[in-house]
């Protein structure tokens, strides 16, 4: 919402300067978004009269002028404008001034051998218009010597504020002035409503047949107007706030809207036929609005219509045919109250915004129809002539008084500022609230409040404040006017007792995995939740696509974290990163919902080339498996019980990948080297390993082990012993199956079993492989005897034999 300082001062009697006004506006919630001082760039441009004009001795198209810029001393200027002539009053730029249109600094200089002390300017040079055919010609009585900006009314700063959606009253300059007055910046001037003579009842029949959408429709005619230009002061103000001046009648309705937040409409009476009615539009009814745009309406919309049809999309846009033109002599004025929601829905459905819609949907003052119409008619009669009819009123605006019960202690109790009841009354009254103060004996004592001088008030908010409907709103008004600076910081009381866990088990698990990943040297990245369709398909396809994607690249909700990480890895490879270890914690989006997941991508060198280790080593599937197991362990998964199985997904290399499962159906992670086709699709070079951990598939721990509690434990004093076994097994047997069988051969004694060698080739039959396992035995009560060791070895061999494994001789 834009307005000028002088406009504000029409309503606000104040001695405050511009900066105080600006600071106060922001302080009370009318945030200043900009202040434009249009005179600043016209510094040094003054009104001057050309005294003499003579041809330039060296150039045909130039003249040598002598100008008077108010001090009576003729100043010589070279000028190329065809209209430059003695007697002309125009705008002169003195040496040192900067031409607004091109930034040129004017200097005293010789032009073709003749000294020139400045420049006579065109409209375009001063950015006052498009005219560049000649220099500006002002009326001959324009005050010579005066700064042009002051003369043109450009020394009136334009203030632009952000009006919050709950403050429709500040969509008019008067409302802003009222707020400033309440903030102590002066007094609100009374609004003078001049009485205008009338010539009898309104000849037009005005009705509302849609009391829901248009509860009130007031109108009157004015006969015999001349629709010329609006007065200059009005045009200057409208232009300053960005409203193009159109004609006196249109400008006046716009002015009343901006000044008093009272939208209205003026119809050309000659274009109307029969009664003028506010009614529902017929389904599919068409209307041609201003600027010739046609809209198709629905029966949920309100129109203003006559016998010829709909003219006006009520409260939003006037019609093309019945608008005022320069030939208009008789007008019908419409001042109505439209339902806020109806306006909002209609505007949204038609995708049509307007200054009127903005105001009606936020809520105009329902008690300001009479006075608004009076103001409007008075301005028209004053500037366009004509005689007004009496007012005709169809329907009634919603004026039911609202009462808010308010305890004065709430300013401190909710707002955190102690404000005396006297001060609160004065703030509220200056904002237009009616505050009947009951003597303490008569009112209900505020028993729960500690403040002794609390009073209970039944406050009636002003009709122009639809936002106020509870005591918290009253607190806001008081606090806003006292200033939020007055709110003192008060430490939040610390709650008693031992701090309980505020993070959920899932959040705690996430933290553990994140820290473990960081400790393992992985870099945590965040990639987009959405993927291009093609990438989603490569990872099993996305179940959810965005209706309004920013681009095709960010369209489908990711079914896997790996796609984003692989793209990031490729970008890093392009930037010559030699070793890439990325991890991401985030959600996958599947048909059944979101799933918390950890993704890891390992690309490039696992170890760089070195004199100790030789050539650089790439990452492989075992590295991915190791990351998966480590992060699963950090997440609290029972890693000892996991089975390695297949089906990691088509994006992995079929022979170098697997899943880690808890039982055959619960997949906790997938890992492996990536499929060459996946690498190609992501433009990755070299082997890339990856894993994904499905955090929400991990069964949650129960009982005290989730916290810091542990069972009592003393490590056995006896030494652990190891025994090695080499088994010949079928090639297809997964080593972890063998290891689990070995471990379960004697659960009391065996504390570990580890694969340490794998051999196939000479001495081992085709289709078989030799696996060497180191078994750790931990005696507890007594040392193991030869017989004990023999017994446990037999159990191990028997268990392995069930899988087709034979002890290698």
């Amino acid at each position: 919402m834009k307005f000028t300082l002088s406009w504000l001062k029409d309503h606000l009697e104040t001695t405050a300067d511009l900066s105080t006004i600006i600071n106060t506006l922001t302080r009370i919630g009318l945030e200043v978004e900009g202040v434009e001082d249009r005179s600043a760039k016209l510094e040094g441009f003054n009104i001057a009269r050309i005294l003499t004009a003579a041809p330039h001795p060296q150039a045909d198209k130039l003249q040598v002028l002598n100008v008077d810029q108010g001090d009576g001393v003729p100043l010589q200027v070279v000028c190329g404008a065809p209209n430059a002539r003695a007697g002309l009053v125009g705008v002169f730029g003195t040496a040192g001034a900067v031409v607004p249109s091109n930034g040129m600094v004017l200097r005293v200089a010789a032009i073709r051998g003749v000294e020139s002390n400045g420049m006579m300017c065109s409209s375009r040079e001063l950015e006052q218009g498009d005219d560049h055919d000649g220099i500006i010609e002002l009326p001959t009585d324009a005050p010579v010597g005066q700064p042009y900006a002051r003369y043109a009314g450009l020394d009136d700063p334009v203030i632009d504020i952000n009006v919050l959606p709950n403050r429709p009253d500040c969509m008019g300059v008067r409302g802003i002035a009222r707020d400033l007055a309440a903030a102590g910046l002066g007094t609100l001037r009374p609004l003078a409503t001049p009485a205008i003579p009338t010539n009898g009842p309104c000849a037009v029949d005005i009705r509302t047949e849609d009391p829901e959408g248009c509860p009130a429709f007031y109108g009157r005619t004015i006969h015999g107007v001349t629709n010329g230009e609006a007065p200059e002061w009005m045009r200057t103000r409208l232009n300053a706030v960005g409203q193009r001046s159109i004609s006196a009648l249109v400008d006046i309705t716009n002015y009343v809207m901006l000044d008093l937040n009272r939208p209205s409409h003026a119809y050309d009476l000659a274009m109307l036929k029969g009664p003028v009615v506010a009614r529902r539009a017929a389904e599919g009814e068409k209307i041609v609005a201003l600027k010739g745009v046609e809209y198709t309406l629905t029966s949920e919309m309100t129109v203003i219509a006559d016998d010829n049809g709909a003219h006006d999309i009520a409260g939003i846009k006037g019609g093309e045919h019945s608008g005022c033109s320069e030939t208009t002599t008789d007008v019908l004025l419409e001042v109505a109250y439209f339902d806020r929601e109806r306006i909002a829905r209609t505007g949204q459905a038609l995708n049509l915004t307007s200054d009127a819609r903005q105001r009606f949907e936020r809520g105009v003052d329902p008690a300001f129809l009479d006075e608004g119409l009076e103001q409007l008619a008075a301005l028209i009669c004053a500037h366009c002539g004509g005689v007004a009819s009496e007012m005709v009123r169809a329907g009634r605006p919603p004026l039911a008084p609202r009462t808010v019960v308010y305890n004065t202690g709430q300013a401190a109790g909710l707002g955190g500022v102690d404000v005396s009841p006297e001060k609160q009354v004065s703030i509220l009254q200056s904002l237009g609230f009616t505050v009947p103060r009951h003597p303490r004996e008569g009112g209900t004592p505020a028993s729960s409040s500690p403040m002794l001088d609390d009073e209970l008030w039944h406050i009636t908010p002003p009709s122009w404040r639809p936002d106020v409907d509870g005591s918290a709103d009253i607190v806001e008004e008081v606090v806003r006017m006292v200033g939020l600076d007055a709110v003192q910081s008060v430490p939040l009381p610390r709650s008693d007792g031992v701090a309980k866990s505020t993070a959920t088990p899932a959040q705690k698990q996430e933290r553990k995995v994140r820290r473990a990943a960081a400790a393992r040297g992985l870099n945590e990245a965040i990639t987009w939740s959405f993927l291009p369709e093609t990438q989603a398909v490569a990872f099993g396809g996305g179940a959810w696509a965005l209706a309004n994607p920013i681009s095709e690249e960010l369209k489908v909700m990711r079914p896997s974290l790996l796609a984003g990480l692989l793209s990031a890895a490729a970008r890093n490879q392009n930037r010559s990163a030699s070793s890439i270890r990325l991890v991401e914690m985030g959600r996958r989006y599947l048909a059944d919902g979101e799933h918390m997941t950890t993704g890891v991508v390992l690309a490039g060198d696992k170890t760089p080339r070195s004199w100790q280790t030789g050539k650089a080593q790439p990452f492989d599937a075992y590295d991915a498996k190791a990351e998966a197991l480590a992060l699963l362990a950090a997440a609290g998964a029972p890693v000892e019980n996991l089975q390695v199985m297949g089906d990691a997904g088509a994006h992995f290399h079929p022979g170098q990948s697997g899943t880690l499962r808890l039982g055959p159906k619960t997949i906790l992670a997938s890992f492996g080297a990536l499929h060459p086709a996946t690498l190609k699709a992501f433009d990755l070079t070299g082997a890339v390993a990856a894993c994904e951990i499905y955090l929400d598939a991990i069964p949650s721990k129960r009982g005290p082990s989730a916290g810091f509690m542990r069972a009592a434990f003393a490590p056995p004093a006896l030494q652990a012993v190891t025994r090695d076994f080499a088994f010949l097994v079928p090639d297809a047997l997964a080593s972890d199956v063998l290891l689990r069988a070995v471990k379960s051969a004697d659960k009391a004694l065996i504390t570990g079993a580890r694969l340490f060698d794998r051999f196939a080739g000479a001495g081992v039959a085709e289709g078989m492989v030799s696996l060497a396992v180191e078994v750790t035995l931990q005696p507890s009560g007594r040392s193991l005897t030869e017989a004990d060791l023999k017994a446990v070895s037999d159990k191990i061999v028997t268990a392995a034999a069930k899988l087709g494994a034979a002890l290698r001789g």
């Binding site: 959606p165 955190g416 709110v487």
Partner: protein
């Protein structure tokens, strides 16, 4: 079925109030989505939401909490903040929090005093006292319980703290960037190690 990516974390307020009993003190970071894309707006970003519901909580507690938070976050004691009346449908009164900065060599540096040259205000947080209707709709008695809520952009605050000018780098995964801004594995704020300045 049509689904909506959440555009802010304020929804967590209601979810918490309907599932927990006061006193409530929560902090809720989360990922949010909007249809925006340029150097300082990405379609995916992060917010953090705070909510306190208890007896006798007022605007002064909100101010202290945010002041303390901003000092800790920016690791500076000379933080100046300004509360400015604003409007959010779910708080009343509502306030936006501006933080003071000083323009040094063309860069905004958080801190400074209002009469310093190059001083300006920048909006960093939305906040307010939870609207009594919100409290009532969550099954609590607004005469007994009141409280405050606030929300801010995590990425936006990080940009301010570190003087970053391109938000898109956050989601690029450049190892050099991650290495520069990343922390060591156990480099977390603690009461003994300090949580800020």
């Amino acid at each position: 079925m049509r689904m909506l990516l959440r555009t802010h974390t304020s929804t967590v307020q209601v979810r918490t109030m309907t599932s927990q009993k006061p006193p409530i003190r929560i902090i809720a970071p989360g990922r949010v989505y909007r249809s925006d894309s340029d150097a300082t707006h990405t379609p995916m970003f992060h917010q953090i939401e705070g909510l306190v519901i208890d007896k006798g909580i007022h605007l002064g507690h909100l101010k202290w909490t945010l002041e303390t938070f901003l000092k800790a976050f920016f690791e500076r004691d000379d933080i100046t903040i300004r509360m400015r009346p604003s409007y959010f449908p779910f708080t009343e009164p509502s306030a936006e929090i501006d933080i003071g900065y000083t323009l040094i060599n063309g860069k905004r540096v958080i801190g400074g005093k209002e009469d310093d040259t190059g001083f300006g205000w920048m909006e960093v947080l939305g906040s307010g006292m939870v609207h009594p209707k919100v409290i009532a709709n969550c099954g609590l008695d607004p005469k007994e319980y009141q409280g405050f809520a606030f929300g801010t952009g995590v990425d936006r605050l990080a940009m301010l703290k570190y003087g970053m000018d391109d938000l898109r780098a956050f989601f690029d995964g450049d190892l050099r960037w991650l290495g520069h801004y990343g922390f060591n594995a156990l480099d977390v704020p603690t009461l003994s190690g300090g949580v800020g300045a």
